[in-house]
């Protein structure tokens, strides 16, 4: 393999600018004989070289930069595909589970049933919203008890301190008149406060 094979010359754009005499010179240059280098050149160079101590990072870098060919057969691929399938399935299930109970993340925690109750029979609908449901009423609609004429909803919550309010007719937010504690929400309004703490099996 010669230099001309390794470095193919493009069409010479200047060829058109050269007259016959110039072209004759270029032909002479092309045909000019080369001296053969002495055979000892190669051996003397190779003897003089010191082995290169290639650091690991360089070897790793070169390895990472070099394209690799990976050969796969369906049989080799099957275990990888199975592992991937299981991993995707498990993560999907976990994701769905989290989505279903976003506010009650620890199923291991013991939940305390809490009955929210509001005496407001003239209302068309009442929901309870609080920091335990991200202040979203969906799924937390209260039911009107015909006999007592009270709106009620039972929610199971773990120990903790919760702020909440009632959303009446989907528009008006009111405090729980029966709550023992109210607290400013930082925006000029107040929230009702519920503190749940299990002590010796009793809820306080």
């Amino acid at each position: 393999m010669g230099l001309k094979d390794l470095y193919p010359q493009k069409d010479d754009p200047e060829k058109n600018e050269l007259d016959e005499r110039d072209l004759q010179i270029t032909r002479w240059i092309k045909e000019m004989p080369d001296l053969e280098p002495p055979s000892r050149l190669l051996s003397s160079v190779m003897e003089a070289l010191q082995p290169k101590g290639s650091p690991r990072w360089r070897r790793a870098y070169l390895w990472a930069q070099t394209p690799k060919t990976v050969r796969l057969t369906p049989l080799k691929l099957a275990p990888v595909a199975a592992v991937l399938f299981v991993a995707i399935l498990v993560s999907s299930l976990l994701f769905l589970r989290q989505k279903e109970a976003p506010y009650l993340q620890s199923s291991q925690e013991r939940l305390i049933p809490v009955v929210f109750s509001l005496n407001l029979s003239r209302a068309q609908s009442v929901s309870v919203v609080g920091n335990f449901n991200a202040w979203k009423p969906q799924g937390y609609e209260m039911q009107l008890d015909r006999e007592s004429k009270r709106w009620t909803l039972t929610v199971s919550l773990p120990d903790g301190r919760y702020e909440y309010m009632f959303l009446v007719d989907g528009q008006k937010m009111i405090l729980d008149p029966e709550a023992l504690i109210h607290q400013a929400d930082g925006f000029g309004n107040q929230n009702s406060v519920l503190v749940l703490r299990r002590k010796n099996g009793e809820t306080t």
Binding site: M1, L3, K4, L6, Y7, P8, Q9, K10, D12, E14, E17, L18, R21, D22, I25, T26, W28, I29, K30, E31, M32, P33, D34, L35, E36, P37, P38, R40, L41, L42, S44, V45, M46, A48, L49, P51, K52, G53, S54, R58, R59, L62, Q65, T66
Partner: protein, 195 residues
């Protein structure tokens, strides 16, 4: 192993495989040795300088830019090395080969010069004419028309812009023409205008 491209060989050398460097030496020893010979006109000096060039290239292989062309890079090392050698040791360039000095050719006398050379312009007289060119012009012309390098690769080898490389090649040919055939102002060259 000879089918490996330059970059693959360099990667292997950098990973500690010293022996594979011999492929690069074999591949490029001829143009590098001839470069040294053109400048020094000494077989022994050319051998030493070519050897040094390959050793220097090996030692600096860590700095070779991945994906670049190896030969222009190697040529730059060789050209710098031989220039330093000339400067350091004040080696006077012997313009003519040992068996063909200026007196024998009669180049000191224009009439003799024409008489003796007009009948034959062979590779030897071209070689002599090339010696009258400044190194950069000569090497640009040889790299392009003999070694077949593109202008981009010549630019890298001679550390010029691509347009600078084109200019060197073009002017190199024009200067050779002046030396060989005489210029447009009537100066006599190695051969008569009819040659």
């Amino acid at each position: 192993m000879n089918s490996l491209d330059d970059q693959e060989i360099i990667d292997a050398v950098l990973c500690g495989n010293k022996d594979v460097y011999s492929v690069l030496v074999q591949r490029y020893q001829k143009p590098i040795f001839n470069l040294m010979y053109r400048v020094t006109r000494s077989y022994d000096d050319a051998l030493d300088l070519a050897q040094d060039t390959f050793i220097k290239a090996y030692e600096n292989l860590d700095h070779f830019k991945k994906g670049a062309r190896f030969f222009p890079w190697l040529f730059t090392i060789g050209l710098n090395h031989v220039r330093n050698y000339k400067r350091r040791d004040r080696v006077s360039v012997r313009l003519f080969s040992r068996d063909c000095d200026e007196e024998k050719l009669g180049l000191g006398n224009p009439s003799q010069q024409e008489e003796q050379m007009c009948n034959q312009l062979d590779s030897r007289s071209l070689d002599q004419a090339l010696q009258h060119l400044p190194t950069d012009y000569r090497e640009a012309v040889i790299l392009h028309y003999r070694e077949g390098l593109s202008m981009e690769d010549i630019a890298i080898a001679l550390r010029l812009s691509t347009s600078g490389a084109k200019m060197r090649v073009h002017r190199g040919i024009k200067k050779l023409r002046e030396i060989i055939f005489g210029d447009q102002h009537g100066t006599k060259g190695f051969v008569s205008a009819e040659g």
